[in-house]
Symmetry: C2
Subunit: 379 residues, 2 copies
């Protein structure tokens, strides 16, 4: 536990709240939660279920109907054949990562991860006394691991890799050919590939490639929180190899009993036509925001050498303005009322050079944020 | 993972389902889930919240209103002063145990537990590479640990104790004087006491004593699943010492983000007057069932030397009928259509001598079960 750092962004949050309590207006560009909430058909499905069904425990791996719906979603939307038997419904992506780490990681096992990365992903490995080997990545590899980096860092202690596409904080994806190469090299070495695909669906270019296209032996973590706007429900899923189903079931049964049943009923409506129409409008709105914010930040002098094509983040270099992104973020909040996340929350690799912008608030908020940034930087 | 055994009761379940599919009627006395579901005011509170509130992430430790409601519940019903700041809302008792074990257990730490005990509780310790020292207990100590047993088994590797009152599978409680002695002796040795109190409220005698009455340094796991009949929602709570709040918050934030928000909204209505009226009727119904089943089983020749005064279980000795409780349970299912749980699911201490009866189905079901048991035993 002593290695689990509090997020620096929590201090930013608390200070932003204190400033708001003083009557100041803060532009929130630090929030990793969509401003949209569950679409009406999802809410309606949950309300109907609450009125009609007794809410009992479900199977540890989730309601069969929901597992089938996720399987159909892979087929209909991504032309991927992922049988329901290989899908476990979980308490958010957090639950999926906890189960994957619990089943796969033994004390001393080493897991390769890129730096920067979403910090919780590291912590799941540490919970089970695994070691994370953070591999510095930069714009030359889209801030992602590659086959070469994995080969160069693999040792006899290495159990596998944990990667994310699209990535938080960088918004970048692993190209299809590279994803395939990673899956193959890890498999050839007898390791395990775990891929965080929780931003699947929130992409603004054609480059998304699920690891599931290349192997039925990978573990894929997914979520209803981002594309489906169902954060507070805590609903996600894990795709696993067929031979791990019994072990995953035993772990899930013991550690969770089951995911929250009302959330599962709601999830059944997440793939319907009307829901999809709403979600695609939202995706277009995220894209409009990115298309505004990305050139605006570049114009202000932030260095963003790789165009982020997914999620709702921009990972921006501040080397033209400051040397310490933590200090920069706190000064920006105090002096200009704009909240962002310092790079330190995502790792140690040149973290002081980077900050993360989230475009999870309205276009007008983002416009105001950019205006304030301009004044702050050129005052 | 290799040490986590599948529950034998799952085989009983599967076989019972197969028999039902053949048209046979099975009396279910193996189920650890109440037949009652969430009271109407709880459902209504959730429906209202879904219609009125966007369902966002909540604080990692739960909604402040719900933490306060649990604190008030302790004060109003048990005359215990447990400030909301020491209460974390969790994804069921499972989530509370996972957090407690994650924060407290380091590899090699030894946790003392009674045998028999609820098997998942052991597994949470193992998840984090702790060791469980199973201490055989019998009727002479109400199938519970005592101060003497703890003192006799404490070594320099011991980190603390994990006990349950009322207990699953025995339905027995730790008397107040003994609970106090346990808390004090563990504290004197610098250890930690974790108490599973998930059956609090479901007691049929005046002997219930929360460990919280004796110390504000204990960890107490509780749940909305049993007394509050909210199984599928996955909502529970953890009471912790004040000095552990930040560490628990960091672990909960990383491992769960937050408990499911719709369940939390529902939980806000769990302590209202109308809900309490409904729940007390149900408690009385459980007591009626116990008051029927306990003497009936004793009359049939099962040995039940300690009267179970809580939860909804009777742990019964079969030494007059058979030597192998697993075989006994399977034969009973095949020949008489009665499903029960073999002792092996709860540990290794004379497990072959015991079976667990659950009275989670109607009185008429229990009457039919007893009739079939009589025919089976005396054929």
């Amino acid at each position: 536990m002593s290695e689990i750092q509090p997020f620096q962004v929590m201090e930013i949050w608390n200070r932003a709240k204190a400033l708001e309590a003083q009557g100041k207006h803060i532009v929130q560009m630090q929030i990793g939660e969509p401003d949209f909430t569950a679409p009406d058909p999802v809410i309606a499905a949950c309300v109907d279920a609450l009125k009609q069904n007794p809410i009992h425990y479900t199977s540890a791996l989730g309601m069969p109907l929901l597992r089938s719906a996720i399987s159909s979603h892979y087929r209909d939307r991504y032309q991927l054949d992922v049988p329901a038997s290989r899908i476990a419904v979980t308490a958010g992506a957090s639950g999926a990562l906890l189960i994957a780490a619990g089943v796969l990681v033994n004390p001393g096992d080493e897991i390769l991860m890129p730096d920067p990365a979403y910090p919780c992903n590291r912590h799941f490995v540490r919970f089970f006394e695994g070691q994370v080997k953070n591999i510095p990545v930069g714009p030359e590899t889209q801030y992602q691991l590659t086959r070469e980096l994995i080969e160069a860092n693999w040792t006899e202690k290495t159990r596998g890799v944990l990667i994310a596409s699209p990535s938080n904080p960088t918004g970048t994806m692993i190209p299809a050919h590279e994803m395939r190469a990673i899956v193959e090299v890890v498999q050839a070495r007898g390791g395990v590939t775990i891929v965080d695909e929780i931003y699947q669906g929130l992409t603004y270019a054609s480059g998304f490639a699920s690891a599931l296209a290349w192997s039925d032996r990978v573990f894929v973590v997914n979520s209803f929180s981002k594309y489906f706007s169902m954060t507070g429900w805590r609903l996600g899923w894990l795709v696993m190899p067929e031979e791990c189903v019994r072990e995953v079931e035993a772990f899930a049964q013991n550690a969770f009993i089951c995911p929250s049943a009302p959330a599962q009923y709601a999830g059944l409506a997440a793939f319907g036509a009307e829901t999809t129409r709403i979600l695609e409008q939202r995706r277009a709105e995220f894209q409009r925001r990115r298309d505004f914010l990305l050139p605006a930040l570049r114009d202000l002098g932030f260095s963003i050498p790789v165009t982020p094509e997914g999620a709702f983040y921009i990972y921006a270099g501040i080397e033209r303005f400051a040397r310490d992104s933590g200090r920069f973020a706190f000064d920006l909040l105090e002096e200009a009322g704009v909240a962002i996340t310092p790079g330190k929350d995502f790792g140690a690799n040149q973290a002081e050079r980077y900050v993360r912008f989230a475009y999870t608030r309205s276009l007008s908020d983002l416009q105001e944020g950019v205006r304030r940034l301009g004044n702050f930087l050129h005052k």
